[in-house]
């Protein structure tokens, strides 16, 4: 029966998409050398918005942001602070043009995030859980 088969196919696709979305859990990772094991949501906010440049243990934090063109960036700020990218960019334009601070470096891809996080002891970035390997430590899981 073609209709039943179609429904079954749709259901399968939908289930696969749900599974895919579940896998796309974003996590905050740090360079394993930073000595940081876990962070609270507010600590993550403080680092990614440039409010502090240090982890609790005194190691200098080197946040790695992503380019607007990568969908992970919008998902990250939406999950972390409930903000649209326009709001995050407005925040950084104030920091930048008032002369207070420069925004963090921006990676073009998750591979780029990993490379930058690993290139300095205080490196911290966000990637999908599946992309986080043994060289980094997951310190915070973003709410889905």
């Amino acid at each position: 029966m073609p209709l039943r088969r179609l429904i079954l196919l749709c259901l399968t696709i939908w289930l696969l998409m749900q599974a895919g979305a579940a896998h796309a859990q974003l996590v905050v990772v740090v360079n394993a050398r930073s000595g940081v094991a876990a962070m609270s949501r507010n600590e993550v906010i403080n680092v990614f918005f440039g409010r502090t440049r240090q982890f609790f243990n005194g190691v200098e934090a080197q946040p790695v942001d992503m380019a607007d063109s990568h969908p992970d960036r919008a998902r990250f700020y939406s999950a972390l602070v409930g903000k649209e990218l326009s709001e995050v960019n407005a925040y950084w334009s104030r920091q930048l043009f008032s002369g207070r601070q420069q925004p963090p470096v921006k990676a073009a891809s998750p591979e780029d995030v990993m490379r930058l996080v690993l290139s300095q002891p205080g490196g911290i970035g966000f990637v999908e859980l599946a992309k986080a390997d043994a060289r980094v430590r997951v310190v915070y899981e973003l709410p889905k």
């Binding site: 507010n42 403080n46 409010r51 440049r53 326009s86 407005a90 334009s93 930048l96 043009f97 008032s98």
Partner: protein
Amino acid sequence: MQFARMMKGRRRGGAFGRLLGACCLLALSSLVVASDDYSAFSLQGFGTFGMARTTSDQLEFVRDLSQPSGVRKHWDGRNDSVFGLQGSWQIDPRLSAVVQATVKYRYDHTYNPEVAWAYLRYEPTPSTTLRLGRLGTDFFMMADSRWVGYSYLTVRPPGDYFWYLPFYSINGGDAAYALSLGESLVRFKAFYGLSNGQIPLADRQWDIDGSPMTGASVEYQYAAWQIRASYANITFKNDLPIGDILQAYSPDPAASSRYLASHDRRSDYYSLGVVYDQGPLQVQLMLNRIEQGSNSFESSEGGYLLAGYRIGQVKPYLGYSWIRSVQRNTAGRQVIEAKIMADAHVDQATRIVGLRWDLARNMALKAQWDGIRGEPTSIFPYRNDPASGRWSGRMDVYTVTFDFIF
């Protein structure tokens, strides 16, 4: 101060700015040549095309007292438009240099480019920042980003709060220290420098170049909350350019001049700001108190409350701002003295309704209505004040702006 004329505006500020800019460019270009792995050069900018009109031809609406003339009943693009460009060089991980130039309508009716900032920034530790050169002053919260329209909600910073603040930069230095307290942060900052600028008064300019400015602030941040208290002052280097008026109209010009002196008089600025910024909701409450040392100005208190809520890419907002100055006792003073002193009076409140639409990446369109409701004596914030009795104290201002960053 609509009497008389004379006195050509001095351009010391402009010449110094150009010199400073040239020196910085020279120094920085040599750094770029000697670049190594650390150094990175970046160029970014911001701008606003703004149009505004009011419902009164009796006087001119300006953004703050740094503007020599303003908006009347027809659409006018001068007062809210700006273009800015910033070049920054990361010389090594601790040291960077920043130069920012802006083009906007100036105190002298021109659009000559200005070097807004030009400084070296040094971070001896991750929590300490030192800057030296030409810097923005944050007398009040957000005062140093007043021209970056893309960075805030409204078409312009609320006038009742910022009119009295025509100072934008100092030649000097500042130091900031951030202290982590678990999940919250405390940031201390202090600055000192000589002011850089002119304030237009009718057809003349009051030279505040070289007036010492100093200040400090403390800021507390926890999650969506930010609270900031600050104190700052300026000690004016010069008297107001009113010597000829006093000569012509005062029976005792020397005594009048002494009484209205601003030279070596200090103005004190106190402010308190609270910001709550959570998801789609943003609320700001700002309060200030300004104590004027010169009899030419009146001490004032002002503030604003602003709230916006994002729905999709559109953010409607509502605001209310106010300012009230305290009249000095003019009993027994000369008529001309009382008249000059009355020019500094302000007593009004403004209702604000607007909409910000983030229509594309790094671009925003805004539309806003300001309903100014004040006393007929409230003329200090405006230009070309009318003969007494012509101004009702009530006016509406309509503004549309297009803001961008790149």
